[in-house]
C-alpha cells in the first residue's frame, strides 16, 4: 500500500509541477496575478508531495518493507536504525528523490521570499518547477524508488559498507544543497533572458543564493575529502575520481561567477559572460549527475546503469540548447560596450581570475571525459588520474593564489603606482622573506616553497587591509573588539570574502604539506616486532576478532611510542562483509595540528602471529578541515543581511 501511495504522489507531483510551470509562465506573459498565485500553490503542493514521498520511502526502510526493490537492495534485517535512515538516499533512486526534495525546498523558499514580485520571479518559478518535473519524471520511469519486488525476499541485500558512516548524512546533503542551489541563479538568469531584462536585477537578486549554493558545494567537497580520508583507507582526501571532478567543475565555474558578478554589479559589464557562467555552472551540475548515475565512467561513486544516462543527457542537451539559444536571442542587449580606465585595475585581476578558474574547469572536464574520447576514437583505453591532474592544475592554482593576493587590494578602475606601493610592498616582502626562510630551514621542495610563499603573500594582503580598517576605527575612539567586529559587520561582504580566502589558503597549506612532507611505509611484523617511521615506533601486539551486527572484524593492536613517551594503542582493522568480495579497511588514526598518524591493516597470518601494516605519517592534513571551518565562518559573514542595503 505504502509504495503505491508514493508512486501516486510522484505522478500527481509531476502533473502539478508541469501545471505550475505553465501557469507561472502564462501569468508572467499575460500579467494575470491569479495565474501566478495558482502556480505558487502548485509549488507548495509539489513540496508537500515530494516530502510525503520521502517520508513514505523512509517508512518503508524503517519497517523493512522488502517488497520494495530499492529497500531490499539497500538494507538487511541487521542494518541499524541510523543507517536505515541514511540508506534512503544511499543509492540511485533515493538520491534522485533527495535531489528533487531539495529543489522543491529551494522553490518554496524562492516563493516565500519573492512572491508579489512581477519582473523576474514568475519566470524563475516556472523554470524551477519545470526542472522539478524532470526529476520527478526520472523517478517514475528509469529510477523508480517505489518499484515492487516479487517474490518478496526474506531478507535484503544490504547497504554498500562504505556508506556505513556518519558522513552519509552530511556529505550528500551538503553536496546536493550545493548542486541544487545553483538552480536558483540559473532560473533567474533564464527569467532575465525571457523578459529581456538582462540588466543587473538577476545578479543582485541571486547574489546571496549563489553564495549559499557555493558554500554548500564547498562544504560537500570538503566533507567528501574527510570521508575519503577516514573511511576509504588510502590515506588521501582527493583522488581526482571522475565524480569528485564532476562536483569540482561547477565549484570552479561557480567561484568564477561569484567574482565576475562583482564586476557587473559595480561596472555594468560582463552581462553576457555572467549569464554564460551561470548556465555553465548549472549545466555542470546536471552533467555531474549524468556522470554519477549513468555508469559511463567507472568511479567509486557510480551507482548504476540503464536508461537513466540517456534521460540526463537529453535533459542536459535541452537545457544547454534553450539557454544558449536564449543567449543568442538577447545577444544585442547583452553585448554592451565595456569601458575600462586602466589595465592595472581590479577589473583586470578579476578577469584573469576568471580565465584561470574556467581553464581549470575545462582541464578537469577534458581530462575526465578523455578516456571516453580515446576509446571512441582510437579504441584504446587510457586512464587520466591523479598524477595528470596534479601536474596540470598546480600552475593554475598557484596563479589563482597569486591573484587572490592581488585582487582584493588593487584599486577598481585604475591603480596608481602609489596605490600599488602602499598595498603590495609589504606583502610582497613578506612572501619573499617567507620563501627565503623556508629555503634556509631546509625545505627542498620548490613547489612547497612557492605555494607557501604565495599563500603568505595573499594572507598578508588580507591582514594589511584588516589592520588599516581597524586602525581607522580605533581613531574614532572604539575599543579594539568593537573596532574589529564593527569593521567585519559593516563591510560584511568584503570581509566575508576575505575570511573565505583565508579558509582556502589554509586548505592550500594542508594540501601542500601533505603532498610534500607525508611519509609512509609498509611492514610485515611478527608479534612483538616494531617498525620505526618518522621518529615513531609502531609495535605489533597481536590480532583479535569480533563479530558485529553487519560484519566480522579482525583488529590489529599496535603500541605507538615516540622517544621515551608512554605508548598509545592504535587498532586498525579489516572488516569482512557478507555482501562484499574483498574486506574493507577500518583505518585507525590520531590527528594532530602538524601530523596525523594513520594505520591501515594489511594481510595477516591466520593464527595472529604476524600482520602487514601500512603506516602513514601525514603532515598538516588537519589544516584542510580547519580551513573548511574558517570558510564556513566567512560564508556566514558574507550571507548575513547587508545593513547598507537596508
Amino acid at each position: 500500500m505504502i509504495p503505491e501511495l508514493g508512486q501516486g504522489a510522484l505522478v500527481v507531483g509531476i502533473v502539478l509541477a508541469v501545471y505550475g510551470a505553465i501557469a507561472a509562465a502564462a501569468g508572467a506573459q499575460t500579467g494575470r496575478p491569479a495565474l501566478i498565485e495558482s502556480a505558487q500553490r502548485a509549488a507548495l503542493a509539489v513540496f508537500a508531495l515530494v516530502t510525503a514521498c520521502f517520508l513514505l520511502l523512509a517508512y518503508a526502510f524503517l519497517t523493512f518493507d522488502f517488497s520494495v526493490r530499492y529497500v531490499a537492495h539497500q538494507t538487511t534485517l541487521s542494518t541499524p536504525f541510523y543507517y536505515r535512515v541514511t540508506a534512503v538516499w544511499g543509492a540511485l533512486e533515493g538520491s534522485i528523490l533527495l535531489w528533487a526534495w531539495m529543489l522543491a525546498l529551494y522553490t518554496l523558499i524562492v516563493v516565500l521570499r519573492h512572491r508579489g514580485e512581477r519582473d523576474l520571479y514568475p519566470w524563475a518559478l516556472s523554470v524551477m518547477l519545470g526542472i522539478i518535473a524532470f526529476f520527478l519524471l526520472v523517478m517514475t520511469l528509469p529510477a523508480p524508488p517505489f518499484e515492487r519486488l516479487t517474490p518478496v525476499p526474506a531478507d535484503g541485500r544490504g547497504l554498500n559498507p562504505l556508506l556505513e558512516d556518519t558522513g552519509m548524512i552530511t556529505h550528500p546533503v551538503a553536496l546536493y544543497l550545493g548542486f541544487t542551489g545553483f538552480t536558483v541563479p540559473f532560473a533567474f538568469a533564464m527569467a532575465a533572458l525571457v523578459t529581456g531584462r538582462v540588466g543587473d536585477a538577476w545578479i543582485t537578486t541571486t547574489r546571496r543564493w549563489t553564495i549559499v549554493a557555493w558554500y554548500f558545494l564547498s562544504l560537500g567537497l570538503l566533507i567528501g575529502g574527510w570521508w575519503s580520508y577516514h573511511v576509504l583507507g588510502w590515506g588521501g582526501y582527493w583522488a581526482w575520481d571522475p565524480v569528485e571532478n564532476a562536483a569540482f567543475m561547477p565549484w570552479l565555474t561557480g567561484t568564477a561567477l561569484l567574482h565576475s558578478a562583482m564586476i557587473q554589479e559595480r561596472r555594468r559589464m560582463l552581462k553576457l559572460w555572467n549569464i554564460s557562467l551561470v548556465i555553465l555552472t548549472f549545466g555542470l551540475t546536471i552533467f555531474g549527475t549524468f556522470l554519477t548515475r549513468s555508469g559511463v565512467i567507472a568511479s567509486v561513486h557510480a551507482f548504476s546503469q540503464g536508461s537513466i544516462g540517456a534521460f540526463f543527457l537529453a535533459f542536459l542537451g535541452l537545457v544547454l540548447l534553450v539557454a544558449f539559444g536564449g543567449l543568442a536571442w538577447r545577444w544585442d542587449r547583452l553585448t554592451a560596450q565595456g569601458e575600462l580606465d586602466s589595465i592595472l585595475s581590479r577589473e583586470s585581476a578579476f578577469l584573469l581570475n576568471n580565465v584561470f578558474l574556467v581553464a581549470a574547469a575545462f582541464t578537469v572536464f577534458f581530462g575526465t571525459v578523455f578516456p571516453l574520447l580515446s576509446e571512441a576514437i582510437r579504441g584504446v583505453k587510457v586512464s587520466v588520474g591523479a598524477p595528470f591532474f596534479n601536474q596540470v592544475n598546480v600552475p593554475l592554482f598557484l596563479s589563482l593564489i597569486f591573484l587572490m593576493g592581488v585582487g582584493p587590494l588593487i584599486a577598481w578602475r585604475r591603480a596608481s603606482i602609489d596605490n600599488l606601493k602602499r598595498n603590495f610592498l609589504g606583502p610582497v616582502a613578506i612572501g619573499l622573506v617567507a620563501a627565503a626562510v623556508l629555503h634556509l630551514v631546509g625545505v627542498r621542495s620548490t613547489l612547497a616553497v612557492l605555494t607557501l610563499a604565495l599563500a603568505l603573500f595573499a594572507a598578508a594582503t588580507i591582514a594589511l587591509d584588516v589592520l588599516r580598517g581597524t586602525r581607522a576605527r580605533l581613531r574614532t575612539g572604539a575599543g579594539l573588539a568593537r573596532a574589529v567586529t564593527g569593521l567585519l559587520l559593516r563591510h560584511n561582504r568584503r570581509y566575508g570574502g576575505f575570511v573565505i580566502h583565508l579558509g582556502i589558503l589554509l586548505v592550500a597549506l594542508g594540501v601542500t604539506g601533505s603532498q610534500a612532507w607525508s611519509v609512509q611505509t609498509e611492514a610485515t611484523l611478527k608479534r612483538g616486532q616494531a617498525v620505526e617511521v618518522a621518529g615513531y615506533r609502531f609495535r605489533f601486539e597481536g590480532l583479535s576478532a569480533t563479530q558485529e551486527s553487519t560484519h566480522a572484524r579482525v583488529v590489529g593492536t599496535f603500541a605507538v611510542s615516540r622517544g621515551g613517551g608512554a605508548p598509545i594503542v592504535m587498532r586498525p582493522s579489516k572488516k569482512f562483509y557478507r555482501q562484499e568480495q574483498a574486506p574493507i579497511a577500518g583505518v585507525d588514526y590520531r590527528m594532530g595540528l602538524t601530523e596525523d598518524l594513520y594505520l591501515v591493516l594489511g594481510d595477516f597470518a591466520r593464527d595472529g602471529s604476524a600482520a602487514t601494516v601500512k603506516v602513514l605519517v601525514n603532515r598538516l592534513v588537519s589544516w584542510i578541515w580547519i580551513g573548511g571551518l574558517v570558510l564556513t565562518l566567512g560564508a556566514l559573514l558574507a550571507i548575513v543581511p547587508d545593513d547598507r542595503a537596508a
Binding site: 578577469l351 577534458f366 595528470f388 579482525v554 574483498a582
Partner: protein
C-alpha cells in the same frame, strides 16, 4: 600458545567460515607471502630502494580499485602489485622497465597519467590551450575597453580619489 590457537579458531569461524580462499583468488598467495615474510626479513631483498618502489607504484593504477594508485590502494591486489614491483626492481630492472612490464600486461590503461605522445597530446594540451585562449580573449577585450575615448579630462587626481574612497569606506 593456547591463546593463539583460540584466536586462529575465532578467525577461522569469522573469516574462514565464509572461506577466504573461495572469495578472493589471491588469498592463498598472500597467506604464503606473509608466512615467507614472517620467517625472516632476510629473505626480502634489502637492496631495493623503497622510494623507487613508491615512485613506480604511484604511476600505476590499482587494477581492482576505482582511480586509486597501486601506492595508495589498501586492497590486497595493490599489495601484490607492490610486491611484484619490489621483486622486479630487486632483480635489477630499471623503474621504466617495471612500468613497461605492467603496460605490456594490462595496456596503457594501467598508467594513471597518459603518455605524452600521439592522440594523448590532446589532453596534455588542454590546460595550456585553454589558458592561452583565455588570456588572448582578455587581452583583446582589455585593449578594446581601455581605448581612450573623447571625454572631458578628469580634474581629480586618481590617487586623491582613491584616498577619498578609502576614507569613506573606513567611516564607521
Amino acid at each position: 600458545m593456547r591463546r593463539a590457537g583460540l584466536l586462529a579458531l575465532a578467525l577461522a569461524v569469522l573469516v574462514g567460515g565464509r572461506s577466504v580462499e573461495a572469495r578472493a583468488p589471491e588469498a592463498p598467495r598472500l597467506a604464503t607471502g606473509v608466512a615467507a615474510a614472517a620467517t625472516g626479513p632476510a629473505n626480502a631483498a634489502p637492496t631495493v630502494d623503497e622510494e623507487t618502489v613508491r615512485r613506480v607504484a604511484a604511476q600505476l593504477r590499482c587494477v581492482v580499485c576505482q582511480n586509486l594508485s597501486v601506492l595508495d590502494s589498501p586492497s590486497e591486489m595493490a599489495a601484490q602489485m607492490r610486491a611484484i614491483i619490489r621483486e622486479r626492481l630487486a632483480a635489477g630492472e630499471a623503474p621504466e622497465q617495471v612500468v613497461q612490464y605492467f603496460v605490456a600486461k594490462y595496456g596503457e590503461w594501467i598508467l594513471l597519467s597518459p603518455r605524452e605522445h600521439g592522440f594523448n597530446l590532446l589532453v596534455w594540451a588542454a590546460p595550456v590551450v585553454s589558458v592561452l585562449v583565455g588570456l588572448a580573449v582578455v587581452a583583446v577585450l582589455l585593449r578594446r575597453w581601455t581605448r581612450p575615448r573623447a571625454r572631458p579630462a578628469t580634474p581629480i587626481d586618481p590617487a586623491l580619489r582613491e584616498r577619498i574612497r578609502r576614507e569613506l569606506d573606513s567611516l564607521p
